[in-house]
């Protein structure tokens, strides 16, 4: 197992290197440059030239890339061109927000999807199943920015139950933190829950027709034990893979949610930095995202072999 993990990590190095090159090129080939954006509408070509020189943007691209890479390897992502804040500091401030939001969103989606999916699978084409399908269709087609605004309107403006936006760090107040997280996590989770529900349902239906389920029932196990222990565990194997990869998608979805609920996460920083042509934060965020995607797919694979001994590595 350890061997396998090490091998996987080793393979990740050229992938990351390739990603870093692509990111760097994409960001730098965007039309419009940070010096112009910074100096604004009334800048002269001389001012722009001087600032570009100061920021090192007048150097050839490959030189800039090598400088950036060597600095990154020593853990220095540079400073934001706009705000002069060190990028690592910005990431440390924001990553917890995005990670918390993503994990909570994930939990919410499973909490919604699991009971509906199991109930639908047990009695296909019953009213529960029809309602479940309807729910999934609505969930998939409803844009999260719309759902977010709807939720804000209902729970913050009309009922005054929850805060409309903002973020309170966990260490400041756990209760306040969770209150601020309820609506965004639900908005984000809803988005994934629909597809998760369809996946779990399909897996369950498939598994429930297998001989070993019949055997389990024939042995006289209670229906509850058959369902939750034997069926669900097996149905979950393909689902885990797909859901694990959805975590990455969720992080992307967090961009929208963070914007609606004005939460200072990584996604919001990325969007803003792209608009300002603020290269260093964008490059760092994409790299961090890529690393977390690689890690999450690794975790998924390990989990997979744990759940299904048949594919455990020799």
């Amino acid at each position: 197992m350890l061997n396998y993990i090490i091998r996987r990590l080793f393979v990740a190095v050229p992938v990351l290197l390739l990603i870093s090159i692509i990111v760097f090129l994409l960001v730098h080939l965007l039309p419009g440059d940070p010096a112009t954006v910074m100096l604004g509408e009334e800048s002269t070509p001389e001012m722009i030239q001087a600032l570009r020189a100061e920021l090192g943007l007048d150097q050839p691209l490959h030189k800039q890339y090598l400088q950036w890479l060597t600095r990154c390897l020593s853990g220095d992502f540079g400073r934001s061109i706009q705000t002069r804040q060190p990028v690592s500091e910005a990431l440390v401030q924001r990553l917890p927000v995005t990670i918390e939001l993503t994990l909570l969103g994930f939990c919410v989606s499973i909490m919604i999807a699991l009971p509906i999916a199991v109930a639908s699978a047990v009695r296909p084409n019953s009213w529960i199943d029809v309602m479940g399908s309807a729910f999934a269709t609505i969930g998939i087609s409803m844009p999260s920015f719309w759902l977010g605004i709807l939720l804000i309107y209902a729970f913050a403006v009309s009922l005054h139950l929850l805060p409309a936006s903002g973020y309170v760090p966990l260490r400041e107040s756990v209760v306040q933190n969770l209150l601020h997280m309820v609506l965004p996590a639900f908005t984000l989770g809803m988005w994934l829950s629909a597809s998760a529900m369809r996946m779990i349902r399909a897996g369950m239906i498939d598994v429930l027709e297998r001989p070993y389920i019949r055997t389990a029932r024939a042995k006289g196990l209670s229906e509850r034990r058959v369902l939750w222990h034997h069926a669900l565990k097996n149905a979950f194997i393909p689902v885990v893979t797909i859901l694990g990869l959805q975590l990455g998608r969720l992080m992307g979805g967090a961009v929208v949610t963070e914007t609606i609920f004005a939460q200072p996460g990584v996604g919001q920083l990325a969007v803003k930095s792209i608009f300002m042509r603020d290269f260093p934060p964008v490059q760092a965020i994409v790299l961090v995202m890529a690393i977390s995607m690689l890690l999450s797919s690794l975790v998924v694979d390990i989990l997979y072999s744990f759940l299904d001994p048949r594919i455990r590595l020799r």
């Binding site: 965007l30 039309p31 419009g32 440059d33 112009t36 954006v37 910074m38 100096l39 604004g40 509408e41 009334e42 800048s43 002269t44 001012m47 001087a50 600032l51 400073r79 706009q82 705000t83 002069r84 804040q85 910005a90 401030q93 924001r94 605004i149 804000i152 309107y153 913050a156 403006v157 005054h160 805060p163 409309a164 936006s165 903002g166 973020y167 914007t259 609606i260 609920f261 004005a262 939460q263 200072p264 919001q268 920083l269 803003k272 608009f275 300002m276 042509r277």
Partner: protein, 507 residues
């Protein structure tokens, strides 16, 4: 209703809405935290390196300037007690005594010299440099007297000192921290001092106990929250999560006014929206074709249907609220026959095609679309291309566009609006407009210290500019703020800056 009638009614309409709740009789209450939205994350607290409009919401509450505007836009003393101009090239300021920066440094003539020299130093790369670049040298006459020697007479100087160039930062704090750090931990003399900044979440200011205006400010804390989305902003105001929002969309005006928990503040501003036509390349290097566009656009319709009859129909680069505005200046009204005549004169009787850029903003795109339909009536075909901010800026600065619709946020000083946009040396002359007579008039107005004379120069220049149509002026937009009913003593100025020095919270 004729055009002038529309204007008068709209001005009256605005004036009625400006009247805030009377607070006379009620005693100001100390304490409390006020939460205000800003449309974008604040970029820097360093006034001399700031280039973003949003920064001013912070700067205005954190710093003082030598001179400032009162709410009727007269220039009045602030850190300077008085000033005189013995000749057009000399300004002498007497400073107030006993003023301290937030870090305890004394405010004096040396501090003024340090600040002005920093703005003037090309190495600072200050966007405000042009506003005071007429200053040749700064002399300290005694601890509280400063003399500015100008290289040439420059009447807009005082106006420049009310804005970015005039904010006074603490020299000791700056020298200790360096420019990067100072921008993140600013130190001034203003009513509030810097407390905390969590990027993209909030920036907090706290009451400065040593503030020189006795008894002020009333609030303990002011929190700025960056919220770009208009709907989110308004929702937060309604839910009570914000006390002041920095803008209200025309379509939401009615709703805010109807709510008994909210107040709408609206004042005419110096800003305007216009379609800029690139005078340096075809088709718009042809004056008659620009004029054809000017005649074909129906501004009234845009004002009525897209701005819900709020604000004022636009006719020129100087808004009616300015002293330089002259109602007798030439103005275009929609006249399709004249538009066709101008097309013939310009050698394109059947019309022509051009591309119109806008920023990615729903209201801007709507205006562009309505203009597109209006221009089509005389055969002028337009293609609308939406550009994201950085690209929009690029085509404008490089003059690689044909038409581009956008806004000019405007300044109380007419020179700042006119010289920058219509003088060949202007820093915002994005259309490449140049007319020898206009250039001469703008230069003369700068040199003159006689108000009536300046007004005459501006009026003549405006008449020529509007006729030449380098920009198709569409709309003078008002500044708006939405405010919770518990916010007392709030005044919205035509520059749109939120000032919290005298604000207090009831309950």
């Amino acid at each position: 209703m004729n055009k002038k009638g529309v204007l008068i009614v709209s001005v009256l309409f605005l004036a009625l809405m400006v009247v805030p709740l009377s607070t006379s009789g009620a005693n100001p209450r100390y304490g409390g935290t006020l939460r205000a939205s800003v449309y974008h994350e604040i970029v820097t607290g360093d006034p001399h390196r700031s280039s973003s409009y949003v920064d001013r919401q912070l700067l205005q509450n954190l710093y003082n300037t030598l001179v400032t505007y009162d709410k009727d836009l007269n220039i009045v003393p602030e850190l300077a007690e008085s000033w005189k101009t013995p000749d057009p090239k000399t300004y002498i300021f007497k400073l107030r005594k006993g003023i301290k920066f937030h870090d305890g440094t004394e405010f004096n003539a040396e501090a003024v010299k340090f600040n002005l020299e920093r703005v003037l130093d090309p190495k600072t790369k200050s966007r405000a440099r042009g506003e005071i670049s007429a200053i040749k040298s700064v002399e300290v006459l005694d601890a509280y007297t400063v003399k500015l020697n100008l290289a040439y007479p420059f009447s807009p100087l005082l106006a420049g000192l009310t804005d970015r160039a005039g904010f006074m930062i603490s020299p000791t704090a700056f020298k200790k921290m360096g420019p990067d750090e100072f921008g993140r931990h600013p130190v001034g003399t203003g009513p509030f001092e810097f407390a905390e900044w969590v990027r993209d979440d909030h920036l907090t200011l706290k009451r400065f106990e040593g503030y020189w205006e006795k008894g002020l400010p009333y609030l303990d804390r002011v929190v700025f929250k960056p919220i770009p989305d208009q709907a989110v902003k308004l929702t937060n105001l309604k839910s009570g999560a914000l006390d002041v929002i920095d803008d209200v969309l025309p379509k939401d005006v009615k709703g805010v006014k109807r709510s008994k928990d909210l107040l709408l503040y609206e004042v005419p501003s110096f800003g305007f929206n216009a379609l800029r036509l690139n005078c340096t390349k075809p088709p718009f290097n042809n004056k008659a074709l620009r004029q054809a566009v000017a005649y074909a656009v129906d501004r009234e319709a845009i004002w009525e249907h897209l701005f819900y009859k709020t604000g004022i129909v636009g006719h020129g680069p100087i808004a009616p609220v300015s002293w330089a505005y002259d109602p007798n200046d030439f103005r275009y009204t929609c006249d399709l026959n004249k538009a066709r005549e101008k097309l013939r004169e310009g050698g394109k009787p059947k019309g022509f095609k051009f591309t119109m850029y806008t920023k990615i903003s729903p209201i801007d795109v709507q205006v562009a679309q309505v203009m597109q339909a209006q221009l089509k009536r005389v055969g002028i075909e337009t293609k609308i291309v939406q550009l994201e901010g950085a690209l929009h800026l690029k085509v404008m600065l490089e003059k690689t566009y044909e038409g581009n619709y956008g806004l000019w946020s405007g300044y109380p000083e007419p020179d700042t609006n006119l010289y920058r946009q219509f003088h060949p040396k202007g820093s915002a002359n994005w259309t490449g407009y140049a007319d020898p007579r206009v250039t001469e008039l703008l230069d003369k107005a700068r040199e003159s210290l006689n108000h009536a004379e300046r007004k005459r120069y501006y009026s003549e220049a405006l008449d020529i500019i509007i006729r030449d149509a380098p920009q198709i002026f569409v709309y003078y937009y008002p500044r708006r703020a939405g405010v919770s009913a518990k916010v007392q003593n709030f005044v919205l100025y035509p520059d749109g800056k939120l000032r919290f020095k005298t604000v207090w919270l009831s309950r």
